[in-house]
Amino acid sequence: MKEVIAVVRMNKTSATKKALVEAGVAGFTAFKVEGRGKIVTNPTLIAERKKELLMMAGDDQTGESEKLITDFLVGTSLFPRRMFIILAHDEDVKKIVDAIIAANKTCNNVGDGKIFVLPVIDAVRVRTGESGETAV
């Protein structure tokens, strides 16, 4: 048994849900989290993303959105993400990971999230009280 923890973009929630159903796992727990990733050191990548984000921000005379975007890109502030927790049989883990990667990949090169796979020792289904692999 494994626990797959995936941190993905907020706007990829429904795409991730769909990908999970297509991969044959419908059960998951999802919640809102905040986070930050590795510091991006590549200046051209930062400049590119900044340009794109500033275009999305539209006209802002106060310079507030520019400050927000800069903070966000240099990694000083936390930003919202969705966390999925999926319980899976060992043999399904690869399928699930591939499905999440395929659904969440964007062409931004950064910020698409992480997937962690943790071992689970036991699981119990509350309704029937059965435990182990059958409870997953």
Binding site: V33, G75, I100, N108, N109, D112, F116, L118
Partner: protein, 108 residues
């Protein structure tokens, strides 16, 4: 690889995160949680509060960074010289695999 889950006081969250970042451990996921500990919550004038708000910091780390990270969290999440009830807990679990979605590479 290890998964560190630290439950700390919400007012200590910023300080712990910035100290971790300063030491080179920048990546983290933070969520607001409620819970109670061994002391069964807080009793204030006869009313028991057993859903105390805390911040949960999750970090996937390399095995060799464990001691540094635990030391930093212990140092900056503690209140007072001796620490106090309610400062929180740190749990560490093994991680089998980690993937970066943007590159698809199986690494931290």
């Amino acid at each position: 690889m290890l998964m560190v889950r630290a439950i700390i006081r919400p007012e200590k969250k910023e300080e712990v995160l910035s100290e971790l970042s300063r030491a080179g451990f920048h990546a983290a996921t933070v969520l607001d949680v409620v819970g109670r500990g061994k002391q069964k919550g807080i009793k204030i004038s006869g009313v028991v509060y057993d859903e105390i708000p805390k911040a949960l910091i999750m970090m996937a780390i390399r095995d060799e960074d464990k001691e540094d990270i635990v030391r930093i969290i212990l140092k900056y999440a503690r209140t007072g010289d001796q620490g106090a009830y309610g400062d929180g807990k740190i749990f560490i679990a093994p991680v089998d695999e980690a993937y970066t979605i943007s590159s698809g590479i199986p690494s931290l």
